[in-house]
Amino acid sequence: MTAVGIYFNNIWLALSSIAIGMRITISHLFVKNVTTQYPDFKLKMPERARNRLYVNIDDCIGCDQCSMACPVDCITIETIKSTPDQDLGTTSTGQKKRLHVPVFDIDIAKCCYCGLCVPPCPTDCIVMTDVYEFSEFDRQNLIYNFSVMTSQDIEQARVKLKKAEEEAAAKKAASAAAAKAAAPPPAEKPAGPPQSQPPSTPTPDSSGQPGKS
């Protein structure tokens, strides 16, 4: 093409492409919009959405496995051993609860929503819900306390444990190192996370966990 031809061809290309572009944009004025008016209308979350953590503390046996699995250490669990005469009841999966759980804190501000804490739980008591609106003005409010024990309960449990331990120590001293079979071996702990909770087997839990109290 000659220079003149290129010149006029360029002008033609510019005008025609502008016309095409304008036709497209004007047609979109009449296309239904894709915006969801968020606070008024909410999209349904996917079935397996991972959002705010929830702990059903009634089912918690204080095994600390979720806390161990957490990559950002946002779960803090403290436990107190129960004495043999106490009955803490059973979980909904039929497991006997052997530990008091005075502290079960999740710092949701740290949580990275990986969901790694969910599969290790032997009683399925820690779950990720589809709640995603939990912003706060104070960062402290993002530390969720799931434990239901009052400070009196905790104190009572401590005192009882101490008494029981003293009694046991006294008994131990009395039987004078005759029976050393009290300490069970820490068992085979398959630390691999993706075993999906076989409901009762791998948790000789309570004794394996020293607790922080």
Partner: protein, 348 residues
């Protein structure tokens, strides 16, 4: 304002002040509407919704924005040239607003019915360049000065096609007075200058292609004059933040903003007055009259403003060399051809 010649000094002053404030009221109302329109058109062209929460479909949003701007802190940086910095937005707005004086809104309302109307508009709106350069220089900021320099280069180059396009309208109508140009086009849509005006049939048919081209060129050049996309290099966000008004905030910034929108309607108004019959009704004497005239003028102007918005959300920004290419190598030669052709047809 011929009707007020037998008034005393104070009455004249009062009438002058009130009448000269009328376009200001119009500009402010128009700016609110157009800001809303722009955001809505932009959003819907991208399948979004834009403002939805302030009032019905967000109609109160421009007012809320205005109140917000009133409250904002007026920041003047230490290194800025304080006097020029403060002066610049007023000059930009003044250049725009002064041009409104010669815009014929209606058969009875024109700020100043001067015989050099079209020339006055071209001349006084050049003042905007001074204000923009002043803003860019006084900001003492690299982005600002780049934006200002680009803006000056752009507006100076595009003034030539604009002036030539005005010249063609003046050649056909034989008047620089926009009121007379408008009256020349009375009698319905077929007499608009874009369709050749009320010339004899043969001349009209010959002249139509050239007037259509001239109108298109005037529209394109006026887009560049007001720094709108695709010619928004002076405020190219991706490169220059906000160009010459990067450093401005609060009401000073708002003044630039209003001036920009006022400028959009100004160039639309000039194009309407020259080529689209101004305040004349498109149906001849049907629905014509001073009030209807104002209605038609504003409607026609808003249609052109809508096209400006439509183009903005369609086209990407040009490069500097493309900008200059279009002005000097496309628009100007085409207009020279049009001038010669129309001149020959008119002496036919």
């Amino acid at each position: 304002m011929e009707a007020f010649q037998n008034l005393g000094f104070w009455e004249t002053l009062l009438v002058t002040v009130v009448l000269s404030a009328l376009p200001l009221v119009f500009i402010l109302l128009y700016a609110l509407v157009t800001i809303y329109l722009e955001m809505k058109v932009a959003a819907h062209m991208q399948d979004r919704l834009a403002y939805m929460r302030t009032g019905w479909h967000g109609v109160l949003q421009p007012i809320a924005d205005f109140i917000k701007l009133l409250q904002k802190e007026d920041i003047i940086s230490v290194a800025a040239d304080r006097k020029l910095f403060i002066l610049a937005p007023y000059i930009v707005f003044m250049g725009t607003y002064a041009a409104y004086a010669a815009i014929p809104f209606s058969s009875i309302f024109i700020g100043s019915n001067i015989d050099l109307g079209a020339f006055f508009i071209v001349a006084v709106s050049s003042l905007v360049v001074v204000g923009i350069l002043m803003a860019g220089w006084a900001s003492n900021n690299k982005w600002s000065i780049f934006g200002a320099v680009r803006s000056a280069a752009q507006m100076v180059s595009y003034e030539i096609p604009t002036a030539l396009a005005l010249l063609i309208a003046v050649m056909i109508t034989g008047s620089l007075n926009l009121q007379e140009v408008t009256q020349f086009q009375s009698g319905g849509i077929q007499n608009w200058l874009i369709f050749g005006g009320p010339l004899p049939l043969l001349q009209k048919i010959l002249v139509i292609p050239f007037t259509v081209i001239t109108f298109l060129i005037l529209f394109v050049a006026s887009l560049a004059e007001v720094n709108r996309t695709p010619f928004d290099l002076p405020e190219a966000e991706s490169e220059l933040v906000q160009g010459y008004f990067t450093e401005y905030s609060g009401m000073r910034w708002a003044l630039f903003y209003v001036a920009e929108y006022a400028n959009m309607f100004l160039v639309a108004g000039v194009a309407v007055a020259l080529f689209l019959g101004g305040w004349e009704s498109p149906f001849g004497s049907f629905l014509s009259g001073p009030i209807w005239g104002m209605f038609w003028f504003v409607i026609k102007g808003m249609v052109l403003v809508f096209v400006q918005i439509w183009l903005r959300w369609t086209l990407p920004r040009l490069r500097v060399d493309q900008l200059m290419y279009i002005s000097w190598k496309v628009l100007t030669p085409f207009l020279f051809v049009c001038i010669i052709a129309i001149g020959l047809i008119l002496v036919l």
